[in-house]
Symmetry: C2
DNA sequence: CCGTATCCACCCAGATACTG
DNA sequence: CAGTATCTGGGTGGATACGG
C-alpha cells in the first residue's frame, strides 16, 4: 500500500474507511433486486433479456443499474458479443457464486419458515 | 384449511398467493436495516434505545418501523415493562435466530471478499 | 423512554424516447 | 437487443412535535 508512515493515525483512518466500505458493500448487496438477480443467475450465464424475463417484475432500468453495480463489485462478469443484434451475457464470478450460496440459504429460510410467518401474521392481525 | 372444494383452481390460486407472500417476506427481510437489526440483536435481548445506539445511523422511525415488521412476521418478540420510564425489550424468536444464521454468513462473505471487491472497483474505475 | 403522527424534501423507479 | 438520457409522480425516510 501507499503512504503508511504515521501508523497510529492512519490505522484509525484505515479502519474508518474499511468500515464505511463494508457498509457500502452491504447496502449494495442487501437489496431485493440484487439478491433476486443473483439467485436467477445461479450457475448459468444469461443474456440481458433472459434475466429480464427471469426476474419477475424488474424494470429495464433496475436491471441494468443492478448489473452495473454487480460488475463494479466484481460479482458478475459482462461479456459483449459484437453481433447484430447485440448480445450481452452475464455470469457470476467466484465471489458472486460465494454470495449466491448465502442467498440460497436465505431462500431456504423463507421456504422453511413460511408457515411460521403466515401464522405469526394472523396472530398479529395481518 | 377452509373452502377447498374445487381443487384444481384453488391449488393454482394457492400457489399464486404463496408466491406473492414469499416475495413479500423476501422484500421485508432483504433490506439493509432489517438485516443490521437482526445482526445487532444476535443472542441478546436489547431495549429500543440500546438498539438505536447499536445500529449506527438508523433513525427512530426506521427502527420502530422495522421492529414492527419483524414482530408481525414473528422474527422478534416485543416485551413491554410497564415501568416509568417505560422499557421495551426486543429478542429474536427461533425463526429470527435461524434467519440470523444466514445474515452471519452474509457478513462473513463481506469480510472474506472485501479485498476482491476493493480491487474489482479499482479495475472498474471506482 | 418509547411510540405515533404530521409534514416535507428528496430520491427513486417507471415510462418514454432515442442511439448503436 | 442492449444501453443511456430525461422527465415526472409517488413513495420514503428524516425532522419535529406531542402523547402515554
Amino acid at each position: 500500500m501507499v503512504t503508511k508512515e504515521l501508523s497510529d493515525l492512519s490505522d484509525e483512518a484505515d479502519l474508518r474507511r474499511a468500515d464505511s466500505l463494508a457498509r457500502e458493500i452491504f447496502s449494495d448487496v442487501a437489496n431485493k433486486w440484487a439478491l433476486l438477480i443473483i439467485e436467477a443467475l445461479g450457475e448459468r450465464t444469461l443474456r440481458f433479456s433472459e434475466l429480464r424475463d427471469e426476474v419477475e417484475g424488474i424494470s429495464h432500468k433496475m436491471l441494468t443499474q443492478n448489473l452495473r453495480m454487480m460488475e463494479r463489485n466484481g460479482l458478475a462478469e459482462r461479456k459483449v458479443h459484437p453481433t447484430v443484434p447485440p448480445r450481452v451475457d452475464y455470469t457470476l464470478t467466484e465471489p458472486g457464486r460465494a454470495l449466491r450460496a448465502t442467498v440460497d440459504l436465505l431462500c431456504g429460510w423463507t421456504h422453511e419458515y413460511f408457515g411460521h410467518i403466515e401464522s405469526a401474521r394472523r396472530r398479529f392481525g395481518t
